[in-house]
């Protein structure tokens, strides 16, 4: 009974692909998200995800609604936006979060405006905003595998550099680590993560995948490798459970995954409160 409950959705190929995509994206987001949480970049991540909408819109208009090339548009816009926001937030004239807020809302509005010129825009817009994990193509899955592996490899290879830079930037400078380069690499990694997550959770819910599993893990451990591992575990569980809930309760997949992740966070938060209080 329970077994058939579990296997029934997986007889559909789109469910299998969606499941694999959601888990892979969840793991990559969780590991990258560890740094997003520790460095207090949640707002940056949210803004970055929204900022890529005009890029996707242009790709969407040029390709006449085809979705296969959208990944490259998302990737290009995300990298440019990440470094752009990174550079602008260093200007002293206006506070960092205000600058990010202005750019992010403006770009998001531009994206909506562009997409609204197409007749069927409501459906497509909602896919970009909230994701469509069951619409993941095989090609899309390959992008996720290849770029996800590159992201995880980079995080592993530069582990101690990112750790030192995040914990104590002054130490990183006295040690003559290439601080600016490392910061830009990290921004680039977040950007690529946003691009590969577009299809599964969409721009509006992206920040939850970056922040929520990592924050849950943060409550439960005090070693960085354990935090990354636990975050990946919570992301995996959220993706799998979320997709089953989505299938059986007929709720939107992205929202279902994010809600599951949120429940894990609330549970961890209450458990921690009870333990320490």
């Amino acid at each position: 009974m329970f077994i058939s409950w579990l296997t029934e959705p997986l007889q559909y190929e789109f469910m299998q692909r969606g499941m694999i995509a959601a888990v892979l994206v969840g793991i990559v987001c969780a590991v990258v998200g560890t740094y997003v949480v520790l460095r207090g970049m949640a707002f940056f991540g949210d803004a970055l995800a929204h900022t890529i909408l005009p890029g996707i819109a242009v790709g969407y208009l040029i390709s006449g609604g085809a979705r296969d090339t959208l990944f490259w548009w998302a990737l290009g816009t995300a990298v440019i936006a990440a470094w752009g926001i990174g550079a602008i937030s260093k200007q002293a004239e206006i506070k960092e979060d205000t600058a990010i807020g202005i750019i992010f809302a403006g770009m998001f509005a531009l994206g909506i405006a562009l997409i609204s010129t197409v007749q069927s825009y409501a459906v497509d817009l909602s896919h970009f905003l909230f994701g469509d994990v069951l619409g993941v193509s095989e090609q899309n899955l390959w992008f996720i595998v290849i770029f996800g592996a590159m992201i995880l490899f980079t995080i592993g290879a530069l582990y101690k550099e990112f750790l030192t830079l995040s914990f104590d930037p002054v130490l990183a400078m006295t040690l003559r680590l290439p601080v600016n380069l490392l910061n830009n690499i990290l921004l680039g990694l977040i950007a690529v993560t946003v691009a590969i997550s577009l299809q599964t959770v969409g721009v509006a819910l992206m920040v939850a995948m970056l922040v929520t599993p990592a924050a849950t893990a943060y409550l439960l451990t005090y070693r960085l490798p354990a935090m990354m591992g636990l975050a990946a575990l919570f992301a995996t569980l959220s993706s799998v459970i979320g997709l089953y809930l989505s299938y059986y309760l007929s709720i939107a997949s992205g929202a279902s995954i994010v809600l599951t992740a949120t429940l894990f966070f609330v549970a961890a938060f209450l458990w921690k409160k009870r333990k320490s209080g």
Binding site: L163, F167, T174, R176, Y222, L224
Partner: protein
């Protein structure tokens, strides 16, 4: 060592001797932190240059900056050993993970500061004195020849302060030069070889007896120097979580 900066600091030039212990004193805003940041290469002087043993600090990692405890994110998920290992991260180079030699440095540094039994603790579980010693261990793991400590005694209770001062003696034996920023003139006079009295520029630099006279202090602090008595050091909130 020479430094010629502007604005926050003006025309500061001085020499240090290997293994000596210098207290940097002066009123708030005198540029003590700025001086340390310029010497360690974190800030670039607008004009002038810093040379250490004849080379620029840009190619040196033999200088360690020991941060003020209030400027550290103590909830960060790292252990004491993790933090000390960070001192090795430049020597390791990208893509490399710590080798036995690096662990030897870390373990030896932890032993020197008497924290080897606490190496697996999360950093917020240390007392204030232990936290300060952890950063000194990190500087040792970095193989620093010059350590710059920003208000290391602030907020420590008396036993923790004494433990730290003992540790400074150990550092002297290891030929490590130490510069300590402090606002406690009594402590500076008692425990340091030389005192640098700073307020935008060096007002006086020499043995405590020569530096701490009424005339110099009046120049440095204006009429306010009596107010800097060690009042805020005595409260000592050295707490364990």
């Amino acid at each position: 060592m020479r430094y010629n900066g502007r604005a926050a600091l003006d025309n500061v030039t001085f020499n240090l001797r290997v293994g000596e212990r210098v207290a940097v004193v002066g009123p708030n805003g005198a540029g003590k932190s700025t001086l340390f940041k310029v010497v360690s290469g974190v800030l670039q002087p607008n004009t002038g240059e810093v040379t250490i043993s004849g080379s620029q600090p840009l190619v040196h990692s033999c200088i360690a900056y020991v941060p003020q405890r209030s400027q550290v994110d103590w909830s960060f998920p790292v252990s004491v050993a993790d933090v000390v290992m960070m001192g090795r991260s430049a020597k390791l180079g990208p893509f490399n993970f710590p080798k036995k030699r690096d662990w030897d440095f870390v373990n030896h540094a932890l032993k020197t500061v008497d924290l080897e039994n606490l190496s697996a603790r999360q950093i917020s579980q240390l007392s204030g004195g232990q936290q300060q010693r952890m950063f000194i261990a990190r500087a040792l793991a970095q193989e620093a020849e010059l350590m710059l400590m920003d208000e290391p005694l602030t907020g420590l209770d008396t036993p923790a302060q004494e433990g730290l001062l003992d540790l400074l003696d150990t550092l002297r034996e290891q030929k490590v030069t130490v510069m300590v920023a402090t606002h406690d003139l009594d402590q500076a006079a008692k425990h340091f070889d030389r005192i640098m009295l700073l307020n935008k520029k060096i007002i006086s630099f020499g043995a405590p007896g020569e530096v701490l006279n009424a005339e110099n202090l009046l120049v440095a602090y204006g009429g306010r120097y009596k107010a800097v008595d060690d009042s805020c050091c005595e409260e000592g909130h050295d707490h364990v979580h």
